[in-house]
């Protein structure tokens, strides 16, 4: 039997953390890209597009992430994709993130005075230009605190992908725990690592919020 010292456990966990980080980054970037499209649908002039956007957001915010991940994991193979925990995890978290980011940004867009749209139109910009040059930069700026806050939520959510078999921090911890029978130490360390990742971001979100001009 192999003996694990405290440092062996810690080293293995820290090593596994890179997958947690990578997954968080991929899901945040992917979620931002898809979320932008959902945002466009949500604030479109077409009624059916707006309905689709709000339905999409309600669906992802009204169901458990664990179920979304299972549907990805078992649904993708039916569409002919190869089943792999990494793909299911990345896609599942991307769609999940897109719904939340779209909703956060929609709040930003709707918080802007309508005069911003009018001003853009009076300069002869068409709708896409208005969005790109006038509306979105301001909407992104005022929604930065909740977006950073959501990144924290996303990092924490990556722990769920251990259940569908993606080898991130928590799944590695489960394996180590099965070998060492030291759940108190192992899960305690996992909590500490997540805390070290998330706390600075939480503080950053708070600082951003404090710096926000009051409306």
């Amino acid at each position: 039997m192999i003996e694990f010292t405290f440092w062996d456990i810690l080293r293995n966990l820290v090593f596994a953390t890179r997958w947690t980080l990578l997954l968080s980054l991929v899901a945040f970037a992917g979620g931002a890209a898809v979320g932008l499209m959902i945002l466009f649908a949500r604030i479109s002039k077409q009624t059916w597009l707006r309905r689709f956007g709000s339905g999409y957001i309600a669906l992802f915010q009204g169901t458990p992430l664990l179920m979304q991940l299972f549907l990805m994991f078992f649904g993708l193979p039916m569409l002919g994709f190869r089943i792999e925990p990494w793909t299911a995890a990345a896609l599942g978290l991307t769609f999940y993130a897109s719904a939340y980011l779209a909703e956060i940004w929609r709040g930003g867009v709707e918080a802007l005075p309508l005069g911003q749209w009018d001003a853009g139109a009076s300069l002869g910009l068409h709708r896409l230009q208005e969005l790109r040059l006038v509306i979105l930069p301001q909407a992104f700026a005022i929604t930065r605190p909740p977006a950073v806050g959501f990144l924290v939520q996303l990092i924490k959510s990556t722990a769920l992908t251990s259940i569908i078999g993606f080898e991130e921090l928590l799944r590695t911890a489960n394996a180590i725990n099965n070998a060492t029978f030291e759940p108190f130490t192992v899960y305690g360390l996992v909590a500490v690592i997540f805390f070290v990742l998330c706390y600075p971001l939480t503080q950053y979100a708070r600082t951003l919020e404090r710096k926000m001009p009051a409306h």
Partner: protein, 222 residues
């Protein structure tokens, strides 16, 4: 190779699904009651005269909010027995859910308490009410009215997150889904149906809370 969707298993599974949904509702009901009571206490502690108490609550809130619920659950269920605290899965689930939700609702309740104008408690004291009466009868109802929508959202988020307690074999909705799909080999259909049930539950809970909130706290609750 074609793959056809098949929902034929659903008729025999209705009982198991209903049982799981009942357990999910039971868990979230316990969590809501306990979580809100604790967060009222903690929000008060956060504003108390004792520095130690204020610090302790602040640390608890930060630790819970910056670690995943699943890790908290595993720590409570697998980790605590090694220091002699052995819990039944259902008790561990309710404990983990309550501690998790209270960390979020403590902040919400606190914001609500701060939102009640000081004149309200001054007026109540002037009428001769005692400290506890002022808090329970004057401050708390007004605070609850302000924070009601945020509380309801937090309850629904917790209900959705409770799906992960299936991992410690609590027989709630997600766990029934795991068992069903292992029996029927209809994984996608099973999780699809159960996902829709979760969606229905979250909409029903919101409706129920808004309706009862209007009755108890008066109009203007949304």
């Amino acid at each position: 190779m074609g793959y056809g969707l098949d929902f034929g298993w659903l008729r025999d599974a209705a009982g198991a699904i209903a049982h799981g949904a009942t357990m999910t509702l039971f868990l979230i009901a316990c969590t809501t009651v306990l979580g809100i009571l604790i967060s009222i206490l903690f929000a008060a502690a956060r504003r108390s005269r004792y520095g130690v108490l204020r610090k302790a609550v602040a640390v608890y809130v930060e630790v819970v909010r910056n670690t995943p619920f699943l890790v908290q659950l595993f720590f409570i269920f697998f980790g605590l027995p090694s220091i002699g605290v052995r819990l039944d899965p259902i008790v561990a689930a309710i404990l983990a859910m309550t501690l998790n939700m209270a960390a979020y609702t403590t902040e919400i309740v606190g914001a609500g308490l701060d939102a009640v104008p000081k004149g309200q408690s001054e007026a109540a004291f002037a009428l001769g009410l005692r400290r506890r009466q002022v808090f329970v009868k004057i401050i708390l109802p007004q605070a609850l009215k302000v924070i009601f929508p945020a509380l309801v959202s937090q309850v629904i988020i917790m209900m959705l997150e409770s799906a992960v307690v299936s991992q410690i074999a609590v027989r709630e909705l997600a766990h029934e889904a795991d068992l069903l799909q292992a029996r029927t080999f209809r994984s996608f259909e099973t999780y699809f149906v159960v996902t829709l049930i979760y969606l229905g539950l979250s909409m029903a809970i919101r409706r129920l809370f808004v309706a009862s909130g209007r009755r108890m706290l008066g109009a203007g609750v949304s």
